[in-house]
Structures are given as structure tokens and as C-alpha cells.
Amino acid sequence: MTLPPALVAFWDDFRANRVALGALILGAVIIAGAVLAPVIAPQNTYDIASLNLMDARRPPGFVGSSGYVHYLGTDAQGRDVLSAIMFGLRISIQMGLMAGAIALTLGATLGVAAAYFGGRTEMLIMRIIDLQLSFPAILLALVLSALLGQGKTQLVTALVTAQYAYFARTAHGAASAERNKDYIEAALSTPLGPGSVVFRHLLPNCLPPLIVVATVQIANAISLEATLSFLGVGLPVTEPSLGMLIANGFQYMMSGRYWISIYPGIALIALIISINLVGDQVRDQLNPRLKR
């Protein structure tokens, strides 16, 4: 199988930035750890029978009653912190991907529709989007999740509402630029319906900037989810995401048992930073103004 030369050149450019390459590898390792958690984690943290209170709050390196080393220590219930992180990552990544995908679909539809129809529709949609963008996403998400209550669906709703506007603006910008190009006029003059012009011609050409925004927004969604869960308005206790692991360890931090909070936090940051670094590099490569 041969890859298209443009893609090969893109990959060569990407590889040239060692920081971005490192970030890509780190991100891949973290995601692999999360995906494979049920297979490779030392302990299934959802299985209450595997917990032993005798093992609670032990420092990193402690050998527990089950006979294996707790490399990152144990938490207040005797859970292995490493395993809790791997299972917590699953929830965090799942929330990020779901919110990102729904916000992308909703935002792109609105933005492209605004650019395609123009006139009053465009003005109305973009006015609402601009207004929403002037409010900080975190405040919006905070208020919404407080209003809707705790739960996965509620949280995703709050995240999507806080984030779709970024996609809409990007999609609108890209689609307005493409809308007036000759190939769209040409496609419109063929017997294709407006729907297929939008989906087959307009939308694919708006995708590159949207993909970049999507990476950054998925990282943002993960960070927002962690913040909300930390504040106690995000996910319920039955869904221990990274934010909740950090919140659970917060009270023990003052007495010097740093590992319960710190290691989930490091995992969270490593994930967010690696996504952002990869997104940054891709954006720089797609920006024609920085091409030398």
C-alpha cells in the first residue's frame, strides 16, 4: 500500500519537530494504557472484593497484601493508584471524545449552514455564536452542570454547549472563504442538490482547520471535565474520572500524602499537553503564512 505523497510530506514535516513527535508518542502510550486498562492494570478498581483497607494510603513502592508492588501507592480505600489512573483515564478520554465529536458536528453544521445560506440566517447564527464566545466556557459549563445535575449525559451536554461555538466560528470562517470559489459555483450549476454540494464539496474543504480545533477542544473538554468533577458538580462518585481522583486525594495532601492527588494530576497534564503539542504542530504546518 502506498500513501499519497502529500501525506508522506506532511508526516516528514511533523517528524522533524522532535517535541511534537515525543508528544505524539507520549499521548499514544497514555491512550494505549487507558484502552488496555482491563487487561494490563494490576487491579480492577471497580471490583470491591479486590480492595483491602489494610493497604489504604500506602506510599509508592509499597508491596500490598495481594503480593504486587503499588508503584504509585494506594488511596484511602486501598485502591492501587496506578490502576485507578488507568481506569480514570478511560472515563476522562471518553467524555472528551464524546463532547468533542458532538460539538464538532453541531458547530460545523451551524457554521457551514451560516456561510452557505448567508443573509439574515448567517447574521442571526453568527451573532448568537459571537455572543456565546464572549462568555468564558468554564463559567457556562459550571452553571449548566450545576443546573442539570450529575451524570455522564448531563456533563456531555454542558461541555458541548460550552464548546460548539468554537467549532461554529472556525467552520464559518473556512466555509465563507470556500463559498465564493469557482468550484462551488461550478458544483452548484450541475444537477447536484444543495445538500450534496455542501456535504461533498464545501464540508471536506473546511475540514483541516476543524480538525486542529477539534484536537485542542478535546484537550479542553478533558480539562473542563476534570475541573467540574474536582469542584463536585461534574460526574457522580460512581464514575471516578481523573478529576475526581484528584479531588479525593486533596484532603490527604495537607498531611503529606501527596501521591493520591499528584499522580492522577500528572497523568491528566501529560495527556492534555501532548494533545495540545500535537495540535499546535499540525496547525503550524497547515498555516500557509508561516511557510518559508
Binding site: 464572549s134 468564558p136 468554564i138 491528566l268 495540545n276 499546535d280
Partner: protein
Amino acid sequence: MLGFVIQRLLQAVVVMLVMSMLVFAGVYAIGNPIDVFLPANATQEIRAQTIAAYGFDRPLWEQYWRFLVRLAHGDFGRSLIFGMPVLPLILSKLPATLEIALAAVLVGTLLGVPLGIYAGYRPNSPLARLIMALSIFGFSVPTFWIGLVLILTFGVYLGWLPAGSRGDTVLVFGVPFSFLTWNGLQHMLLPALNLTFFKLAMMIRLSRAGTREIMLTDTIKFARAAGLSERAVLGRHVLKLISIPIVTVFGLELGSTLAFAVVTETIFSWPGVGKLIIDSITSLDRPVMVAYLVLVAFLFITINLLVDLTYATLDPRLRRGRTA
């Protein structure tokens, strides 16, 4: 110009009305607030009295209409938890929030702009790479996490700084401020530092991007050809050209810091507006939530209006484009 101003003012009023409606309806949907502050064994009679006293038995639109009328009189109702009028309650918490917000945005700008200009001026130097790494770090790491690390480092391990409450305050025209006493300043340092990280990252990014693009333009070529020193090129031309977006963002950020302060204030138990709103969300204190959200909406709409009007003054094309 006058027509444009009137048009934008009217738009702002309409938006404000819609926002107040959404906020009122949204907050109303969180269950029955009566259950929160009456004991479970209260008699039916007391319940009915309380409901009537607060007007919860009226239809929603009537409650909203009364709310609007009272709003017009500057009356946001009484807090169900604190038992005092909401407006003075929020205003009494405002100085604490303003204090750390202003400190954070100022420090972020004064430090971030020079760093960003340097990073854009010498994009490939090691120092510029370090600055950008710092900026990506500040952007990526959630505020609450930086707060935790600050508390752990300076509060728990080193024990240098207190991590909670405002410390000693001084009354200035009857308003308490922390930054005027040594003890208060110590209490302020960690929360303000926590808030600054994001602002710093943002200002670095903004001024770097601006500087990079301006350095490639003819303006800089001619300034250098005229024999200006690099210092003068950066200080007189680059700084002036990037200052327009920076001033805008400074204004907008000051507003949004109020929102970020929610997280910081909760972690550091800083008794500001942000902590008030989190507490009122958890205790379902409806009047406080509604008033806070309406005030925040008002703040942002006003800032947006001012930004739009400033742009229109600076750039005549915008005036024509919008009114046409």
C-alpha cells in the same frame, strides 16, 4: 455614528432581556427551593406561608415579571441562606475578587508581553523555546491543578505562605482590601499567582504571534533601513502595532477572570464572588445565583459593547458595514 450607537445599544438591551429570561427559567428548573430551607417535619401550613411569602406559588411569568420590576429598582431579592439582600451580599464579596483578578491580569500582561515579543523576535533561540514551553504549560494545565501544586509546595512543604482566607484587611473608603497589609499580601500571593498562569500564557502567545507577523512586514524593513536600533524598532513600532489586540484582550480577560476566579477561590477558600456562587449552587440559593448570572451577563454585554464601539471609532469601515 449615532445610528450605529443606538442600534448596538438596542441590541444589547434585547440580548440582556433574553439572557435574564434564560437564567431565570434555567435556575427555576433545579427543583423546589422550599425543600432546602424548611425542615422535613414542617407543617403544611408553614410550607404554604413560606411559599406565599417568597412568591413561589405564582406562575413563572409573573415571578419573572416581578423579578424584572424589582431589578429595575436595583432589588435582586434576598438570599435564602444569608437572609440578607442579594445585591449588598455580592457587592461585599466583590473587592476580594477584583483584587486578585486585577493583580493576575496586570502581572500577566506586564510579564507576558515582553516575553512574547522576545519569543516572536528570536523564534528559534533557546530562550524563546523555553518561553513557549512555559506558555503551552500555562495553557494546558488546568487552573485547579496549578492551585493544588502551589498549596502543596508553598503551603505544606515549604510552609512559606498561607493557603486560605484573606488575612488582614484595611478599609479604604469602607471597602476592605488585602493588598495593603503585609499579612494580607501574603495571603493574596498564591491565589493571584494561580490566576496569573493562564493570563501569562495567553499574553505570551498573543504578542508572539503579532510580533512574528509584523517582523516580516515592510514597516520593519523601512524602520531598519532608516537606521533605527533594534531596540527602537521593537519598542516603537512592534509594541505599538501589537498593542491594539492586547488592549482588547486585556479588557475581555479582566471580565473572564471573574469566571476563572470561581475555581481559584474555591481551592484557596478566598472569600470572593466565585466562592459565593459555588456555595449558592450547592445550597440551591436561587436569588443569589440569578443575581450573579444576570450581573455577569450585564458585565460581559457591556464589555462587548464597549469593544465594538471602540473598534468602530478606530475603524470607519466597521460602522458602514454594520449599518448598511
